[in-house]
Point group: C2
Chain length 320, copies 2
């Protein structure tokens, strides 16, 4: 990528984007032909059906190649004079992926180690967003070699116990980019990042950390009494969906399994939920009892800023 050499570019202030997307394995298989764009190769299994959470990656800059052993990077760019970091991240979302500016973007971290980039001192600010897969798909591949790296799916969650020699319940969220353990008496949350894990580093430089922290932030959309669709500004499930699909969406984003009955009751508390039963429509396309279909009461629109940036600071809505 060639950066135009206009003088208003702050080349020591990078903005990196952690763009999440959720897609059903079979949709991914049928719509993405170049399997080199999807990593790792086992990420999509033709036999099983399920949702996967991915993050968008690009090749590392040429000048970095000698330092990164072929590992990929996160899309990004540099701050300009007349922008805030947030507007820079919006511009970069358009520039690098051709995505509409109506996407809800949130700040998630500062990466400022003097040695983090072996070429020069630069601070990196990460912004994250959840994006509809259809929007991402159009940009995949191309000269930019835009690709997807798996963050989490049901298969990975099933692997966790043998991979880390701990049951899934011991974790307060797991994904390929790291995890936290549930606190025990006397011990607070303990986190593990890819550099400490047997599975090893995934992306170049400190991009793994960027993904992990952004994932932790994104995760908050699901762990409280928030409406994740409104919070993320996107609905990857389509017009009508099964509750079990909504549950798998939550599980993959949270990196936790949720009890079926608890999940249903939580979203069923209509006074704080955006999900409503679609009268009289069922889906029998899969084994078992046909499932009721649901839809969103208020369809999402990306640009609603009535929600605060930090979900951790929202108390649950009181009952009516």
């Amino acid at each position: 990528m060639i950066i135009p050499m206009t003088s208003d570019i702050h080349s020591d202030k990078a903005v990196n984007l952690v763009i999440f997307t959720v897609v059903e394995d079979q949709v991914l298989m049928s719509k993405v032909w170049d399997e080199d764009l999807i990593s790792p190769h086992w990420a999509v299994d033709p036999k099983s059906r399920g949702l996967s959470l991915f993050v968008v990656t690009v090749p590392a800059d040429d000048e970095l190649q000698s330092h990164v052993q072929g590992r990929r990077a996160l899309p990004g760019g540099y701050l300009r004079d007349n922008e805030t970091l947030k507007s820079a991240s919006q511009r970069l979302l358009i520039e690098s992926l051709g995505l509409s500016p109506k996407i809800r973007i949130r700040q998630s971290g500062i990466f400022d180690e003097p040695e983090r980039n072996p070429l020069r001192r630069e601070l990196a600010f990460t912004y994250w967003a959840m994006v509809d897969f259809e929007s991402v798909r159009k940009s995949l591949g191309g000269r930019e070699r835009i690709g997807l790296e798996l963050v989490n799916n049901a298969a990975f969650l099933d692997l966790v116990p043998e991979l880390f020699d701990k049951p899934l319940e011991d974790f307060d969220g797991v994904c390929r980019f790291g995890n936290r353990l549930m606190p025990k008496p006397g011990v607070y949350h303990k986190k593990s990042m890819t550099k400490d894990l047997p599975t090893g580093k995934i992306l170049a430089l400190d991009y793994d950390d960027m993904v992990f922290y952004a994932w932790r932030a994104m995760r908050h959309a699901f762990d409280g009494k928030l409406d994740p669709f409104r919070y993320l500004g996107v609905n990857p499930l389509g017009e009508a969906f099964r509750l079990s699909d909504a549950q798998e969406f939550s599980e993959v984003c949270l990196g936790e399994k949720i009890d079926r009955d608890q999940f249903r009751r939580r979203v069923g508390a209509i006074d704080r939920s955006n999900i409503r039963l679609l009268q009289g429509s069922v889906d029998s396309s899969r084994p078992g009892k046909p499932a009721n279909l649901y839809s969103l009461v208020t369809p999402v629109d990306g640009e609603d800023d009535s929600l605060p940036d930090d979900p951790t600071r929202i108390r649950p809505l009181p009952r009516t």
Copy 2:
């Protein structure tokens, strides 16, 4: 203040410190003679007894004077080549206040509006800490004219209902630098900063916002099941204290009133609390029934990094 003109200073990356301290009004009166250092003047009332939460301020830079109408600023400085922002904030804490590096510092915000500083484009990163009043006191005044600005105290909390025409329970935390309303059905948290309030701006530029967001972060030490002393790394209450003092400390920091019985029961849940009854010692120095005295089981030490940076991500400790 003269900044040495060595070339490794990043003069477009500022670090500002929001240094909180809690002090009893009568201690403040007896130990600080220059009342110009304390703002506003009604902050300390010789008649009433109580705790106040302050933030440390300094005069705005000379070059800014024409823009700020005499308003004061937060201590700060610039990032250097070989530092992270966090180590810069530690250095600045020593340089500007002579404070020991053992103080627990946390990041809280990025201020990046292109116009935020009328003199030049600069990004500001804020770091906050809670500091023992004795440490702050030694630096007050002097050539630097280091002073204190009131953030919250019982008197201000009592004023809130008539000031904002709303009962205190409608707020999810109030202080002089802003507030949030409790969410109502259909409406999420709504915040008000000083620029929107009848009470008006307090400090120069966007320093009010820095204090507000840092205060919101500091507040988290109190609203969950965290041990605030361990989280803040400081104990402003001394060796032995009444539970009612611990309660006032919490109320002033939270910007909320807490029911006496609820507060006592919460800290009384010893398996998750650091507070223990001091056998056989009572304090009769105030009207009413003499109070039992308590102390911390594990005295605080500033440099314990077993606690994560973000309290919102801590789940309560399970019971033993």
